[in-house]
Symmetry: C2
Subunit: 337 residues, 2 copies
């Protein structure tokens, strides 16, 4: 029976939203078991007693890694943190995958220093699924910030693993892979991106060339590969712009008199429709590619609905044996068998 280790103390809505999502997802996961790591008293109050030992297990921990903690230091000093103990369970084979909504840097450190990197992968990459126009599957982008400094070879391995992910999890054959760059032509970019372009062209990936920041949401690619620094700036700009525009729209509707307020009520369905076209909840969390076991990072502000989909995503990753497929994609599959 496969077990998913869930850091129940990470994120803004922990532990309640996480436990509720776990209870909702449980019946849909086959015979998997969910291990909840965190404060025993809080978790026991949230889990119905008939579920305990019956699909859900609580692993008591006494510490929590905070968002403001320095990652490497935190995982070394807070040895009984929910995230750290959960990672250790995965390392020791007592669980098969790790899910956390906590400190991204700390989770990355747990991945590298506790769970361990996959053979042939120098640096793991962080890959969220993002929405795109006229697309129900969105697109995957990596690395969005696990690495401040990247090398062309990293980008190629990230693309190869993302390719396996999109093929297996999304069922898309020959996903279109693009490189985030500052122009369309092959010779665009700095040395890192020029070289990455050449290396990507030499792979057997369906590499469609460069893509620019303004094209990201247009659904032109299934996978956008980027160095971690640019990917981080681009993703955060995307998130910030979306949040700013929506809050600006909201305040404009509220501050422009009764007619605008009434109008706002009348466009409610349309706005809901708009939101459903860009429903990021269903895409789950960001996957850390390149580790010996699946590690998924949920957004810190995720609510129950998103966490539910993220747990299902982790379950799917286990069902489809993604790690074995990553190894095959990297040409490391045979050496391990």
């Amino acid at each position: 029976m496969k077990k998913i280790a869930i850091d129940a103390m990470g994120g803004e809505n922990a532990p309640q939203a996480i436990v509720e999502a776990a209870l909702q997802a449980l019946p849909e996961l086959g015979d998997k078991e969910l291990l909840l790591f965190g404060d025993e008293k809080q978790l026991k109050a949230l889990v119905p007693s008939d579920k305990l030992g019956n699909g859900i297990e609580i692993i008591p921990t006494t510490e929590v890694i905070l968002d403001e903690d320095e990652p490497v230091k935190a995982i070394r000093t807070k040895k009984d943190a929910s995230m750290v103990v959960a990672a250790r369970y995965v390392k020791e084979g007592k669980a098969d995958a790790l899910l956390s909504l906590g400190n991204t840097g700390a989770l990355l450190s747990c991945g590298i220093f506790i769970i361990g990197r996959m053979k042939g992968v120098a640096r793991p990459g962080l890959m969220p699924t993002l929405p795109a126009l006229n697309s129900s599957t969105g697109f995957n982008m990596l690395d969005v910030g696990a690495n401040a400094q990247s090398k062309p070879e990293y980008l190629v391995k990230w693309a190869q693993m993302a390719n396996a992910y999109v093929e297996k999890i999304k069922g898309i054959d020959h996903p279109r892979v693009a490189l985030l760059n500052n122009g369309a032509e092959y010779d665009k970019g700095d040395d890192l991106h020029k070289e990455s372009y050449q290396l990507l062209k030499e792979t057997d990936l369906n590499f469609i060339g460069n893509i620019e920041g303004n094209e990201l949401l247009q659904g032109k690619a299934d996978i956008v590969v980027t160095d971690g620094f640019t990917g981080n700036a681009s993703l955060k700009t995307l998130e910030g712009t979306t949040r700013t525009l929506l809050s600006l729209l909201k305040s404009s509707l509220l501050e422009n008199g009764i007619i605008a307020k009434l109008g706002a009520l009348m466009i409610k369905n349309a706005l809901q429709d708009m939101r459903s076209k860009f429903d990021v909840d269903v895409y789950g969390g960001a996957v850390l590619l390149g580790l010996e076991h699946p590690v998924v990072k949920g957004h810190g502000n995720s609510k129950k609905r998103t966490i539910y989909y993220t747990i299902k995503q982790v379950s799917d990753i286990l069902d489809k044996d993604l790690i074995a497929n990553f190894k095959i994609a990297l040409g490391e599959g045979e050496n391990h068998d």
Copy 2:
């Protein structure tokens, strides 16, 4: 009498919108003269005869640099292109500033190879003004793509020139200067950004530290300095996200029945109010900082209203003698006098 050289053939709405904007701006520019470079027949048809030789002059050219032209090659082979001839006028002292809505790379090449770099500046930086929440002045960001490969020293000089621009043109004392980075702490980023942070801290600029992509529109900084590659990706992501969300909103309002359509009419004022809060037209064009004379790049899709504000911006740059102020900011002022 100061003269502004305007490439009347660049951008999607050339030459009509450009000529109309020039005619609108002319009475408000003091005694400046506007030189319009482009197809003689087209321009003559657009300029009233009483304005010719009376504030407006037409300089006939026979070629146009297209967006798809390779920049350096284009300025070498299309010697009679409107942009190239306009740049030559500035170089030769027959005009004082250059404005174009055409090919950005070609304009950059005109700046570097024809007009020439300012002493002490290795690479010019491209700086647009962008909107920010609760701010009538927005913020300035550079470099947004004149350089694929940047060095820490470039960023410092761009920040120093941007500082002079914001002080003189916007009248903001001690503008807040931030570095676009992948985290708030001083040790964040790759080597380029770590080193840039240290160098910026050593200047007498009001350096407020790092800013992340999601904070750009929040008005936390007056100047955001970034390497040209990241700045390009971030700006284009910002533009693309804005365009995508607004078009999604529009289509959702149209596709959700009569109530939503009626509601859309009722929120029209609110949307206008929202647009006015984020009115980028009035900010004019992007300035190429670090050249011997002012060069301003208007967005290719600018309409008459934006071009009008951009011409006024160029006029203001001349009135406030920005180039001399840049030289002082870079510590090169005295050497030139």
